[in-house]
């Protein structure tokens, strides 16, 4: 197999001296869809935050490779410019910059050149329509006063516009109604292709509908306790985490 897009080796991660992850291994190949499941508080968000380089998390052991490069020490913005993207569970509200200007700035930052205004605007309007976000939101401050669902759509809009190589989706479906989950999934599918990859954290199979899941990882108490194919998702959504752990 060629170099995996993301390779995590024996990752130990601490917050405030407390170890959350105790040696996680994970490999994601180009074009693959991976799902990360597990009970609340087992370190799923910690894992994706650490992969993105959140300074609040300290990697005490292990390495993270992205596109074959060791990025364990790289700053968050460097990882983003290499093609990594994190969709936040609770996206920040940033007054002072409009959604449109922000996405244009971000696209310029990751691609190294400022997108052409009119082509950019046309594409943005198209993608907003796809996600059912009213055009007026382009002129609103980034996520300010957005509902929970609108914030998640704003994340997927950024994904669609920034076109990263790897998307880490941290419970993008949580707090969304059925229709919104479907819209978000449509957005993810529109972006996903044979070259780019996904790691989705979810408690719900709904968001995975229509996505070809390659691997499922179950994280429990800071360790991957089970790995398998798409069938694991059904097993967990039907029988809960207890059922999968017994087989471990």
């Amino acid at each position: 197999m060629s170099t995996p897009l993301l390779k995590i080796e024996g990752l130990h991660v601490s917050v405030d001296e407390k170890e959350i992850l105790h040696g996680v291994d994970l490999e994601i190949g180009a074009g693959q869809v991976h799902v990360l499941m597990g009970p609340n508080g087992t370190g799923k968000s910690t894992l994706v935050s650490a992969v993105m380089g959140d300074p609040r998390f300290t990697v005490t052991e292990g390495r993270i490779y992205f596109k074959g490069e060791d990025v364990t020490e790289a700053k968050t913005d460097e990882r983003a410019r290499m093609g990594m993207f994190l969709s936040f569970q609770a996206p920040q509200e940033i007054p002072g910059i409009t959604l449109e200007n922000f996405i244009r700035t971000a696209c310029g930052a990751v691609s190294g050149k400022q997108p052409k205004l009119f082509a950019f605007r046309r594409e943005l309007r198209e993608q907003m329509a796809r996600l059912g976000l009213d055009e007026s939101y382009a002129e609103r401050y980034l996520n300010v006063g957005f509902s929970g669902g609108e914030k998640k759509k704003s994340e997927i809009l950024q994904l669609l516009m920034m076109k990263p190589a790897l998307a880490l989706l941290d419970e993008t479906d949580s707090g969304l109604d059925v229709d919104a989950v479907r819209t978000v999934t449509e957005g993810i599918k529109a972006w996903h292709n044979a070259e780019n990859s996904l790691l989705i954290i979810t408690h719900n199979a709904k968001i995975l509908e229509g996505l070809d899941v390659d691997h499922v990882h179950v994280l429990s108490k800071g360790l991957i306790v089970r790995q398998g194919g798409a069938e694991l998702v059904r097993e967990i959504t039907e029988g809960g985490f207890a059922s999968v752990k017994e087989e471990d």
């Binding site: 959140d54 990882r79 410019r81 920040q92 007054p95």
Partner: protein
């Protein structure tokens, strides 16, 4: 989940002493100023002052010598009071060369992309540039409306001498404080604006255009008189750092707002970082009139700046919108004062202050509601953002309410940049520096949008400049 976590602070203490000190004259205090009657007479002669103005200068000099140096605010020890004459006669400043301009200011010009020729002009060391022409064009247009817009010295020699005499330093008397007295003795340059009744001046008048006008210095006097039912927007200050050899600025602004009139006064002060900016601004507002202050303070080593509004007429209003940004080595003490002296008056103060890299940005306010001001309203809100733990930001509000028929509110918030917000922006490819500048820009934005467009752009650039190199 906001980009800046804020925390409300309850403000209880009322410190009146700060504002009362002006009345105390410490006769025992003497400073060997080096400023003599001869020098003041010389200035007056050079300017061809009318006799009354010469006498006014001499009287101010007497007061100056009696008043103590203020000791209630940031330290001004770096100011060489013994050799005040060098500030008063900054002839050396005029002959300064580009080579003498400090590195940080040169770098600012570089980064702002201001052409070389203009840079020396803005720094006050070069020849004239196009601004004079622009100024004259603006003046012609407003003249047709009967508006007078000229420098104060020439106005003194024309038909408005009497009007000037009746207003000059009546709002800010030389007895106000030591630097007001110094101003009265040695003032030089500045603007005179008169707007007749019923005239609405559609284009903002900008003193910026006159930056290089002869005589403009650091003791400039701005006298604005707006008659009844008129409107004026006056923009003052320098949008780029101005370098002067002498490092004291003691300017004075007096604004008379007539009945039913509205005056908006916008300014960005971005003095060089060796400057002691001890500026006094005051407005009096007639019945139903409005004064709006928009104020940005970025430069100077030390600033004392509290524009005051006297709400003299029934139902007169004031609005103050201000922003202060203090970086390394700066202590900026800014705020607003208001005296409600008539019934049904209202004041509304909104400020933001930012401190970084060990800078000190203090907000000081005084609200006085007199016995006569029943039914008045006042609201004061200040928010500060500290970018690191070495920087400081204090809030010093004073209130003196002498009627129980008043509605008074005060709110203070102090916050820091949220790490979560920085991480969020960095995850979208923005550098730490750009992420922080964006957050600070967002914090400042409600104020920036009140500024004239070119100043808002300037302020944004300044924030980015100030943030550059701020990441450890």
């Amino acid at each position: 989940m906001a980009a800046f976590d804020t925390e409300k602070t309850v403000v209880a203490d009322i410190d009146r002493t700060v504002y009362d000190i002006k009345d105390k004259v410490d006769a025992a205090y003497e400073v060997s100023s080096g400023l003599t009657e001869e020098i003041v007479r010389d200035i007056s002669r050079e300017k061809n002052d009318p006799d009354w103005m010469r006498d006014f200068r001499l009287k101010s000099l007497e007061i100056y010598e009696k008043l103590p140096i203020p000791d209630w605010g940031p330290s001004i020890e770096g100011l060489d009071m013994k050799n005040i004459v060098t500030y008063v006669r900054p002839k050396t400043g005029m002959s300064a060369t580009w080579a003498q301009v400090p590195e940080d200011i040169k770098n600012t010009f570089e980064r702002l992309g201001i052409p070389q020729a203009e840079r020396s002009g803005l720094a006050g060391v070069g020849a004239q540039y196009d601004s004079e022409v622009v100024y004259h064009n603006v003046r012609k247009e407003v003249e047709d409306q009967g508006v007078v817009y000229t420098d104060l010295e020439s106005a003194l020699k024309g038909p408005y001498e009497g009007m000037i005499r009746d207003h000059f330093m009546h709002l800010v008397p030389p007895t106000d404080h030591k630097f007001a007295a110094l101003h009265g003795a040695v003032w030089s340059g500045g603007s005179f604006v008169y707007v007749p009744a019923g005239v609405s001046v559609e284009i903002p008048l900008q003193s910026y255009f006159r930056l290089n006008a002869p005589g403009a210095g650091q003791f400039e006097h701005t006298l604005i008189i707006v008659d009844k039912n008129a409107y004026l927007h006056f923009i003052e200050g320098c949008s780029a750092p101005k370098y002067n050899v002498a490092n004291l600025h003691a300017g004075c602004v007096e604004i008379f707002v007539g009945e039913g009139s509205r005056v908006r006064y916008s300014t960005i002060e971005n003095w060089s970082k060796n400057m002691y900016n001890l500026n006094t601004k005051r407005a009096t507002v007639g019945k139903g009139g409005t004064i709006e202050w928009v104020s940005g303070s970025f430069g100077s080593h030390t600033s004392y700046l509290y524009p005051m509004s006297i709400l003299a007429g029934e139902k007169s209003r004031m609005e103050f919108t201000g922003i202060t940004f203090a970086g390394a080595g700066q202590e900026l003490d800014t705020g607003a004062k208001v005296l409600h002296a008539a019934p049904g008056t209202s004041s509304h103060v909104t400020t933001k202050s930012i401190a970084r890299d060990g800078g000190v940005s203090n907000f000081r306010s005084s609200v006085v509601i007199s016995e006569k001001a029943a039914g008045s309203k006042s609201s004061v809100s200040c928010e500060s953002l500290m970018l690191d733990s070495r920087s400081r930001s204090d809030t010093i509000p004073a209130m003196d309410i002498r009627t129980d028929k008043a509605d008074v509110g005060h709110e203070a918030k102090i916050g820091r940049i949220s790490e979560d917000a920085v991480f969020y922006l960095m995850s979208r490819g923005l550098s730490e520096e750009d992420a922080k500048a964006l957050i600070v820009g967002g914090f400042a934005e409600p104020i920036a949008k009140e500024l004239p467009l070119e100043y808002a752009v300037e302020m944004n650039n300044l924030i980015h400049l100030e943030m550059k190199g701020s990441i450890g």
